[in-house]
Every structure is written in C-alpha cells, then in structure tokens.
C-alpha cells in the first residue's frame, strides 16, 4: 500500500510544485516506487517542471470519466511515474475533482509513495486532494503570511482526515527577519523535515532548453542536498543506505580493487 501524501501550503508561490517534483525524484533515488499526481487541476504546472509538457491523456480526462487512469500515467525522470493535469480551462470547469479519491485508491497497490501536488487556497479541488491523501506535508516560507496560510491548511487537512506530518520550509535566506525553524515548528506544532535554502539553481532549472528538476540538473547544489534530506526523513531511510548510493564512483572502485588485493 502506498503512502499517499498531499504536498500543500495554502499560499501560492511557496514552491509546492518544485518540492513535489524534486522530493519524488529523491524518493525514487532511495529505491522507492513513486507516483506524482498534479492535483492542481486549475493551474497545472508540474509537467512543466518535470520537462514533460506533451501528454495526450491527463488527469482531466480521467476525472471526466473519458479515460482510464493507467493511460494517464507517464514515465518521469529517474524512474518516477507521473500523472499530469491538463492545461485546458474548459476541461477544468467540467472536471469532478471528488473522483480523485477513487483514482488514488486504484493506484495504491503499485507504488510506495503517491505525492499529490495540491493547489493553493482551500477551494474544492484542494479539499478533494487533501481528502484523497492519508498524510499531508506543508510547504511554507519563513514569513508570517505564508505560515498563517499553512496553519489554515493544517486545520482543514485535519478536518478532512488527513494527518499533517511535517513541514518543509522553502526559500530560506537566513535573514534576521525570517521566522526561525524552531519558531515555525512550535507554531505549527509539527516537525520540520527540511529548510530548503533560496538557491538560484532552482530558478535556473526552469530556464533551460530542456527543463529538468534541479535535483537532476544540479544534484549537489544546496537546494538539492536539502531536498534529498527531506526525502530521507520522510522515508526513514538514511541517504547512505539507499540503493543508488551503493553505485561507486571511479575512484571508489579503484580503491576497492586495491583493498581486495
């Protein structure tokens, strides 16, 4: 059974979609089967961040009952699977987001993690995504307006039966006026899974001929490193224990040859 986790924030622009995409890839690197669902049916852009804009069948078609869910699953970077939402405004008005719960339960057995990229606000499609998840991770910024919206999202998620398990603080610049990690943790009464620093590499990842998530393009940049730690905390797997980390580099292989001798 998959852990179905909604990535939500309440406020727009906190980096939910970026966190969802990169966290999904980081979990896949830890050997997990991961499905990402763009549950932001009105303002879908997870596909753009993953660099996969051409998807003939989308979540819209499935929610409209015009396609089977398995036909809307695509291969994403590094083994991640992905269900995009359509960009059509007409379809967005017609879809019944309440069907998301049924869609998620159809896919539950095939994955270890299903991450739902939830829209901003607390409108119907947000409620649908939160109620389709078992757990919620909040993404916020170290500023009071973002935290206020995260608080409201936490209350709504709990009302809908989704357990809010932690928070990711994004765009951390370590300025004096930022609300600290400890303050955020005590205000939200949640553990902090990671403080992702403001990193120009994240923005630069969208500005390439072939767009790819920062964790793919620059795996050693500060944001990628912290997002990998978030995945590690979320899954309970130490980064050093992951299957992918057992792949040795050239020098390590060379040393191991000498050690054997």
């Amino acid at each position: 059974m998959a852990r179905v986790i909604a990535i939500a924030s309440g406020k727009g622009g906190t980096g939910k979609t970026t966190v969802t995409a990169n966290l999904g890839i980081a979990l896949a690197r830890l050997g997990k089967k991961v499905l990402l669902i763009d549950a932001d049916v009105a303002m879908a852009n997870l596909s753009l961040i993953l660099g996969m804009q051409s998807s003939p069948i989308t979540l819209h078609d499935v929610l409209l009952g015009e396609a089977q869910v398995h036909d809307a699953v695509y291969d994403g970077p590094e083994g991640v699977k992905f269900i995009p939402s359509g960009l059509s405004l007409d379809n967005y008005k017609r879809v019944d987001s309440e069907r998301l719960l049924g869609i998620v339960s159809q896919l539950n057995e095939q994955y270890d993690y299903i991450l739902l990229d939830v829209a901003a606000g607390i409108e119907k499609n947000v409620l649908s995504a939160l109620s389709a998840s078992q757990e919620t991770v909040l993404v916020t910024m170290p500023t009071s307006p973002a935290i206020a919206d995260a608080l409201k999202t936490k209350i709504v998620a709990q009302r809908l039966g989704s357990k809010v398990i932690g928070v990711v603080i994004n765009f951390v610049m370590n300025e004096n006026g930022e609300i600290t990690k400890n303050d955020i943790s005590s205000m939200l009464e949640l553990p902090v899974y990671g403080s992702v620093p403001y990193d120009p590499e994240v923005r630069k990842s969208f500005m390439q001929e072939k767009v790819s998530p920062v964790i793919v393009r620059k795996p050693d940049c500060p944001a990628s490193v912290e997002l990998t730690k978030v995945a590690s905390r979320l899954s309970g797997i130490k980064v050093g224990d992951s299957p992918s980390s057992s792949k040795k580099g050239f020098l390590a292989k060379l040393f191991s040859i000498f050690r054997k001798k």
């Binding site: 649908s128 009071s144 206020a148 608080l151 209350i155 930022e178 205000m187």
Partner: protein
C-alpha cells in the same frame, strides 16, 4: 560593476540586513492555532461539542433509516429526523445514485448524508461541500462506534 561588487561585499561584511523578526505576528499566529485545537476526551457528549466546533456546524443529528434518533448534538430533533429520512428516502427513490442532499431553509443549510444504514443530518450557516459532509459523517460514525464499544465494555464489566 565595481559599485555593485562593493555594495555586495559591504552588505556581507557589515551584515547589512534591515529585516527584523515580527514577534507580535508570531504570537498572533500561535494564539490562532491554540483556538483550533480539537482534543477528544472519554466523554461522548463533550466529543460531540468538539466535533461541532471542528467542522464549523451548528448542530447534527444521526437517525436510523426509519427516522428514529441515534444521537443528536442538541438532545432533540425528532421532527427533523423524520422529515430528513423521509426526504432522503424519496430522493433516493427518484435518483438512486445521489450521494447527499443539500437544502437551503431560511438562513440555514440542512444537509443529509446516508452512511452505514444511518442518516447524518447536519445544520450549518453555510453549505458544506460533499467532501466536508462525508468527512464529518465518517468522523461522527467513528465516534459512535467507539462509544458503543465503551458502553459494551462497561456493561460486560458490570455484569461480571
């Protein structure tokens, strides 16, 4: 270019950061969350009050399919119970795949949701979405089951 580099250097060296932590807002937000703590107790009646606050509703009533009351947050509601179940039964007969019924009456909304051979009748100032109504019904149903088990345990221990 040189000025830009010097400014950047000065900002780093002199820690030219004019921002300050908004302490009053932090306190305000802490206070906000403290008003939204919903802790259930051993007392079933108290839990009904918690549930009402949590889901922002005025009252709720659970009936069997014949209209007899299982529980009421206000301790009454026989008329609403019979009317609600009759109405739901009529709508279900006309539209068998309907999931919930929402009725606007005066300044209130009455919402009917069938679950496990019971009818959950909710009254609120604004309409709940089907998702919210279902979440409330499931939680209330779970409370009813827990209460039933507690009462059963008590009864067994008393007879023993």
């Amino acid at each position: 270019m040189v000025i830009k580099i010097l400014r950047s250097f000065a900002a780093r060296v002199l820690d030219d950061d004019s921002t300050k932590k908004p302490h009053s807002q932090i306190e305000f937000l802490r206070d906000f969350l403290s008003k939204h703590k919903y802790i259930y107790t051993q007392d079933f009646e108290e839990n009904l009050v918690v549930l009402k606050r949590k889901h922002l509703v005025d009252s709720f009533l659970v009936t069997n399919l014949d209209g007899s009351i299982v529980v009421s947050s206000e301790g009454n509601g026989h008329t609403e119970g019979i009317m609600g179940t009759a109405m739901l039964s009529y709508i279900k007969s006309e539209l068998p795949d309907s999931e919930s019924v929402l009725i606007k009456r005066n300044d209130s909304w009455f919402m009917l949701f069938p679950l496990e051979k019971k009818v959950f009748i909710v009254k609120a100032g604004s309409e709940l979405s089907n998702i919210e109504l279902r979440a409330l019904s499931f939680e209330l149903n779970s409370l009813l089951q827990t209460n039933k088990q507690t009462l059963e345990k008590k009864r067994v221990s008393q007879t023993a």
